[in-house]
């Protein structure tokens, strides 16, 4: 760290607190965050829907649902066509047992299979992605390393050199302008001198003529 006095620290902190991002950038960032929230929520909902859809796609679940419908229809028909009222409790128990025995194992089995498949595929995808990411990262880091060592360290120097070159160029232009002005001045002085010499020669001739 360089040596900085207290006033300088205060000054820098003040300058830091005065930095304001442009309103355009602020709006863009807020909009992007909003879209991210919406997408994140959608992707979560999508995952839940996919699980249920995949469960109901299965033929076992379809069969189980058909069995439930048939049992319900049979129960309704039996109840309507029965000569005398049946024991409701008995029927309920029978129906529950039948439903449990036919539906529960099938759904459980199906759910386990579906979840297992989903987890396996998710795991395979994420592990492949991780592997690929890692390879890319390593490759990127290796290729960047050599370039970064020279480029990053010289960036500020380059920019300052550019600034310095601009300043030198401006000074050189000013110098040229001054030289041009001086040359012009010399040219004018020369013309004046020539005129003076001509006048002097003429006056000398005149004087000589008068004396003769």
């Amino acid at each position: 760290m360089s040596k900085i006095d207290e006033n300088n620290i205060d000054h820098r902190l003040k300058a830091l607190s005065q930095i304001e991002p442009s309103s355009k950038a602020t709006n863009r960032a807020i909009q992007r965050a909003r879209e991210t929230l919406i997408n994140e929520n959608k992707s979560r909902q999508g995952t839940n829907t996919r699980i249920w859809r995949s469960i109901f796609k299965s033929p076992i679940t379809k069969f189980a649902a058909a069995a439930v419908l048939l049992i319900a229809a049979g129960y309704a028909t039996g109840r309507l066509s029965a000569p005398e009222p049946m024991d409701v409790e008995e029927l309920k128990t029978a129906l529950e047992t039948s439903l449990k025995s036919s539906l529960e194992p099938a759904i459980r089995q199906d759910l386990i299979v579906q979840l297992n498949e989903q987890w396996q595929s998710a795991f395979a995808v994420s592990s492949a992605r991780l592997k690929e990411d890692l390879q890319q990262q390593v490759r990127r880091d290796l290729t960047e390393f050599a370039a970064q060592t020279l480029a990053a360290s010289g960036t500020l120097t380059n920019q300052r050199l550019i600034e310095l070159i601009r300043l030198i160029e401006a000074a050189r232009i000013r110098e040229r302008q001054q030289v041009a002005a001086a040359l012009e001045q010399i040219e004018q002085d020369k013309i004046r001198l020539e005129k003076g010499l001509v006048t002097l020669a003429a006056q000398t001739n005149e004087l000589l003529g008068t004396k003769q």
């Binding site: 300058a15 991002p21 992007r32 965050a33």
Partner: protein, 174 residues
């Protein structure tokens, strides 16, 4: 989850601009601040402790400050390439003045990054966000007197870090 999303939308409407300004001041880059803002809200929607947080705004600010200083640390480890360098965020106009100013601010922000989390948060709120001691105390769940002491100690630590060539601190203090 819809409740969380609704709460985050409200937070975004209420404090989104402040959080973005804070991230810009701590990174000195609008493009990076935008990235971190997105990352912040992904973190918040997936965070389990966000629901338990008594003050969502303070929680989000703390997460934003941590993200910004994590970015500063990772940038030190992986220096930028020439093509990755963008114009630093600054209010000056001349390119040379901007560069000098950005370098000075980088130096002071790196020193702030060496403070511990709680004093760092209090210091950032006081000196970077220019918040009052009472407001900071309310947000951090501390007394105003405690916050003043935290800020004062953090400022002394910062002066030590920036004021001496010999005293190069390797660990965190304060």
């Amino acid at each position: 989850m819809p409740d969380r999303q609704k709460e985050l939308f409200e937070l975004l409407d209420k404090s989104g601009a402040n959080l973005y300004a804070l991230l810009t001041r701590l990174t000195l880059r609008e493009d990076i601040a935008e990235e971190l803002m997105q990352e912040l809200f992904i973190k918040l929607i997936n965070s389990r402790s966000f629901d338990k947080a008594g003050n969502p705004e303070a929680y989000a600010r703390r997460a934003a400050i941590n993200l910004a200083f994590d970015w500063r640390r990772s940038r030190k480890r992986n220096p930028l390439r020439l093509d990755q360098i963008r114009e630093p965020a600054s209010n000056d106009s001349s390119p040379l003045a901007k560069l000098v100013r950005a370098e000075e601010m980088d130096e002071i922000l790196n020193a702030i990054g060496q403070l511990k989390k709680v004093p760092r948060e209090a210091f950032v709120m006081r000196y970077v966000q220019q918040e009052s001691y009472d407001y900071i105390a309310e947000q951090l769940g501390k007394t105003s007197h405690h916050v003043r002491a935290l800020c004062s100690r953090a400022l002394n630590r910062l002066r030590n870090l920036l004021g001496s060539n010999q005293h190069k601190s390797s660990g965190k203090e304060t």
